[in-house]
């Protein structure tokens, strides 16, 4: 078999190109959020800070398997025309799908931080919680909390 180095070189370039695109699109920084609104202690491991344009999640121990259930975030914009057909902007997420913003150790315990940005819309209120879909049937709500931004 005759090896064609030109072909192999070209393939390497295309592979590097794809890897670079994935790297930069997946791991770009999220803008720093502002004014703190409130916080929710989901469990001993997970604390959620709600700020004016994002959720900040801090996971004690960094074991995302401990928080396997999906989160739902329904964002109700001040300008209702920016909401979806259901009347809100849906930002469902799972911790396993989020990129980690930072990792730090305090008093010998590791903490991982994640951010879920609301986007550029001015927010009236949000509804936040966790749900699961047993046997694919949506949805069993585990907990939920409504936060009003205009108080």
């Amino acid at each position: 078999m005759k090896i064609d180095l030109k072909i192999l070189g070209s393939v390497c370039i295309f592979v590097c190109l794809a890897a670079a695109v994935l790297y930069f699109t997946r791991w770009m920084d999220v803008k720093a959020p502002v004014a703190n609104i409130t916080s929710v202690a989901v469990s001993d491991q997970l604390q959620i800070e709600i700020v004016s344009n994002a959720l900040q999640l801090e996971l004690k121990g960094c074991d995302v398997a401990q928080v396997a259930d999906n989160f739902f975030v329904h964002i109700y914009p001040l300008d209702a025309s920016k909401a979806g057909a259901e009347g809100f902007i849906n930002k469902d997420f799972n911790l396993t799908g989020l990129k980690r913003l930072s990792k730090e150790t305090r008093s010998g315990v590791t903490y991982c931080r994640y951010v879920v940005a609301f986007g550029s819309v001015a927010v009236d209120r949000i509804e936040l919680g966790q749900f699961r879909a047993p046997e694919g049937k949506c949805c069993e709500i585990l907990w939920n909390r409504q936060v009003n931004f205009n108080k």
């Binding site: 064609d4 997946r26 979806g84 930002k91 699961r132």
Partner: protein, 382 residues
């Protein structure tokens, strides 16, 4: 979705397959975006199998083109590959990008911004991680685009190591069967999250890979292809079994990642095994059925990407004129309206976006010069 052949080469049977897949997706989503009766709502899940069928069909069509073109890649090298990509991207990207920008303002989930969603332009929204609900339909396009990018690249790599196209294709097909299977086992898929895995590129590449396997058999083992077509009832029976067991929650109940991963693989194998049977179909006696199949197949990519926007548009108009209660809650009125609007929007985007770009990709350098010269003559009034 992104399945195309030149009009003269259109296969009626594959058009039937494409139409069936397309209608499964549209009607599944129509039920999911309305208030159907409890009996009808039981069929909404069929949309996912429409996409599975699309993947296999796409793999078969692209596989046939690819296996033919790759025969010259040991001479043309990278230029053969880039030409293949160019033709694929001119087919799929214009409409994808158009609906991406439409989604920024009119997505079912609400408006968002370019800076938040720009990764969708690079199909990086769900490569090896779950995606958000923005432009949700794009998940399958991402699977297809990554397939178009990586599959021929791997074929070229194996050709670079001195293999002929037949061997390179087989090696690549095997890699595309094994890697997603192992990824589904190795990467976290908890039983309650089975459904998330369905929408991740890395986990789904084998669905198209099995379609290419059908193209491989068609190209180099035609008697076997014909035998599979002859025994169409076997894959059909298994596919029905897979659909029924999914309805009963089987994939979610399976214990262990290996079994769950195997469920995906079996689903892809038996959907791909239906392709020979579809391929052998001939036009019906009723002309209107043939015309409907041909037309739906022709605009299927536009239907796929545009149907949710058609629903959103209908609902917005109903709200604006205070007809929401009267129309949206009545399935006998809302479903025909949805269907008509889906077809109208699809035809418009096909004529205004898809077709011009398809024409453009077929213009070679000489024709382009002639085109500009004719424009110049028009400008000077000759």
């Amino acid at each position: 979705m992104s399945t195309t052949v030149a009009d003269s080469n259109r296969s009626f049977g594959l058009d039937v397959c494409r139409t069936l897949a397309c209608l499964l997706v549209v009607f599944g989503h129509m039920l999911g975006h309305s208030l159907p009766s409890p009996i009808l709502s039981n069929f909404a899940f069929l949309a996912i199998f429409g996409v599975d069928l699309f993947f296999c069909l796409s793999g078969f069509l692209i596989g046939r083109i690819l296996l033919k073109e790759a025969a010259n890649w040991n001479v043309s090298r990278t230029s053969g590959l880039t030409n293949f990509w160019y033709r694929r991207w001119m087919r799929t990207l214009p409409l994808y990008v158009f609906f991406f920008f439409v989604s920024l303002k009119f997505d079912w989930q609400g408006a968002t911004t370019f800076s938040e969603q720009f990764r969708y332009l690079f199909f990086a929204q769900n490569f090896a991680w779950p995606m958000t609900d923005f432009y949700r339909l794009s998940w399958s396009l991402a699977v297809e685009e990554w397939f178009y990018y990586t599959f021929p690249l791997l074929i070229l790599l194996v050709i670079g190591f001195g293999a002929d196209v037949k061997r390179a294709a087989m090696v690549t097909i095997v890699v595309f069967m094994v890697v997603p299977f192992l990824a589904r086992i190795g990467l976290p898929i908890e039983s309650v999250r089975y459904d998330d895995a369905r929408y991740v590129v890395l986990y789904r590449l084998d669905a198209i890979g099995f379609g290419v396997l059908a193209a491989y058999i068609y190209t180099w083992h035609k008697p076997m292809f014909e035998r599979i077509a002859k025994h169409w009832y076997i894959p059909l029976a298994v596919v029905i079994g897979i659909i029924v067991s999914t309805k009963m929650g089987a994939p979610w109940l399976l214990n262990g990642k290996v079994l769950q991963s195997l469920f995906f693989t079996c689903s892809a194998i038996f959907f791909a095994a239906l392709i020979p049977a579809f391929f052998s179909l001939r036009p019906y006696r009723w002309g209107w059925v043939n015309r409907f199949v041909n037309f739906t197949s022709l605009v299927s990519y536009s239907i796929y990407l545009g149907h949710i926007f058609a629903f959103t548009m209908v609902i917005a108009v109903l709200n604006r004129f205070g007809l929401h209660e009267a129309v949206y809650n009545n399935p006998w009125i809302v479903y025909p309206i949805f269907t008509i609007c889906v077809y109208l929007l699809a035809y418009s985007t096909y004529r205004l976006i898809e077709k011009p770009f398809l024409k453009l990709r077929d213009i070679d350098g000489t024709s382009l010069v002639k085109f500009f010269k004719s424009l110049q003559r028009l400008g000077t009034g000759k």
